[in-house]
Symmetry: C2
């Protein structure tokens, strides 16, 4: 039976049973948004919560994909399954499309313990800011325990998405300053762990000092987690074990302190707020594009009705 003939419920059941094709199809629905995405969301929601999300971000060329690939290797070697969402707000390609960097991950393409997926905006009403948490929740709901969310740049959207993970890893290089100048503050704010990748190059110590200094200046509460800085050479898988030990130490810390729960609750509230805002926007667009709107516009222009009464007719009276 073709996947296309399956209902969303059937696809979901198949994905829970480990069917990768069904999972890919559900992710396409999520990506596209609309009623079917919402149906997927309603199935995922009650089953999600056990998975753990790690965000990875950094300037283009920082070696995030290589690091992701090395991390996958590390996790698979110890038997953990992993899913990767590669988010590229600027790319028109989605779904099955392979981004340039994804090629490096093809080592894992035939491993059933690895699921890699690229996402871009396409038609989703809420854009990536809504599609990403929905996709993460789906991967979580079908049983993926580690979910890596890799974003491609250090623009506002990327930083925002990466910052919505349970643990956020910011990847820099020796002499990083210039490449991320524009958004250093944003990166400092979301980082739970810093990685200096390409640590076989000159300038590691200066970069570490630079980061420590910025951490000193930032207003961390006295007892808060201070982002550790881990040196890595991803091309040789050097330092990946230490990176992952640091990620798990952060996880344990925020699980115990209640910070993880607080973060997740905050994200859910933000998501609800976003859904409501998008839906109101959509409603506004519907209102100003219908026949009734056209006719009221003409009436206002002809002065047969005043603008406030026209607005009342469209929206109901003020306060309704």
């Amino acid at each position: 039976m073709s996947l296309r003939s399956l209902s969303t419920d059937q696809l979901f059941a198949a994905a829970v049973d480990g069917d990768r094709g069904a999972l890919a199809r559900l992710l396409s629905l999520v990506e596209r948004g609309g009623a079917e995405a919402r149906a997927v969301g309603r199935l995922s929601y009650p089953r999600s919560g056990a998975g753990y999300t790690v965000g990875l971000t950094g300037a283009p060329g920082a070696g995030k994909s290589t690091l992701t690939s090395a991390t996958i290797g590390f996790l698979r070697a110890r038997g953990d399954e992993v899913a990767v969402l590669a988010i590229d707000p600027s790319s028109p390609f989605t779904g099955g499309a392979i981004l340039g960097d994804r090629v490096r991950m093809q080592d894992h393409a035939t491993d059933p313990g690895v699921f890699i997926r690229s996402m871009a905006t396409r038609g989703h009403l809420g854009g990536l800011s809504l599609a990403t948490p929905e996709a993460v929740r789906l991967l979580d709901a079908v049983g993926r325990r580690w979910i890596l969310v890799e974003t491609v740049g250090v623009g506002q959207v990327e930083v925002e998405i990466a910052g919505k993970a349970d643990t956020t890893v910011v990847v820099v290089n020796p002499g990083w300053g210039d490449s991320v100048q524009a958004n250093k503050a944003g990166l400092m704010e979301i980082a739970d762990v810093f990685v200096i990748n390409k640590a076989d190059r000159k300038g590691v110590d200066e970069t570490r000092r630079d980061l420590e200094q910025m951490l000193d200046l930032s207003d961390l509460p006295h007892d808060a987690w201070r982002p550790p800085i881990v040196s890595v050479v991803a091309t040789e898988r050097r330092g990946v074990d230490e990176l992952w030990a640091t990620v798990e130490r952060h996880r344990a810390t925020i699980e115990v302190s209640g910070e993880l729960e607080r973060r997740r609750r905050f994200r859910l509230r933000e998501e609800l707020r976003e859904i409501v805002a998008r839906r109101l926007e959509q409603r506004a667009r519907d209102i100003v594009s219908g026949e009734r709107w056209d006719s009221l516009q003409v009436q206002v222009a002809e002065r047969s009705i005043d603008p406030w009464s026209a607005a009342d007719e469209m929206l109901g009276p003020v306060g309704a």
Copy 2:
């Protein structure tokens, strides 16, 4: 009887009879927005349309107030009544407040044929972009035949407001280039008439050439009105007669061509669009600040309801 004890209808009737205090009070209501502003709007609307609006804008220091004052003098000398709205988006002062530049207009303060009013944003939901056309319509409805709308700077808001007049006058000075660099394109777009004020200084010819060149480069339709350039020395009232003759030539041209009617219809549509947008924004704010919202947020955070169902509960189902 005190003005404060009068109903909006009574105030409006008094203002139509020439009561300046009643008019000032109605303008305060308009400025404040809300239900009373809408009531004023509904009274003004059917009575408006006979007045003619002239927008004046230019960089701070270009001498707009002096030019306005000289224009008032010119219009009063030939017996025309005039109202002036001085709009300053950056000023917290409104209503009775006298802006620094307004001092120059105090020559006319005791003349019953002149009505001058400063406006700023204060609490109006739609800000100046809604309050200004409402105020203009009120002045129009109570019988003012010339309404000058003077804005203080060349920022986006100022240019937008000045551009919504029937005829828009852009005031520059010799060597104007630097002071308005940021928004030259915006000024070119709204100008119906250019005034080179302080034309007793050096650089008038260069400025005129500069303007002509920009007009040559701009994409005016072949048969369209090409903004004339008038030299003025406002402090000595020199050139004001030519400026006003040009404004009236523009008026006659767009009245005959149908452009005036087209502009006004367009503005009314834009205003309706703005009212609807603001009202939807207000509704969104109401929704995300009520008790029901708080309780749904908690339920979502506790995973007892998913975000889509919570959104449905707030807004009704999708498409409603």
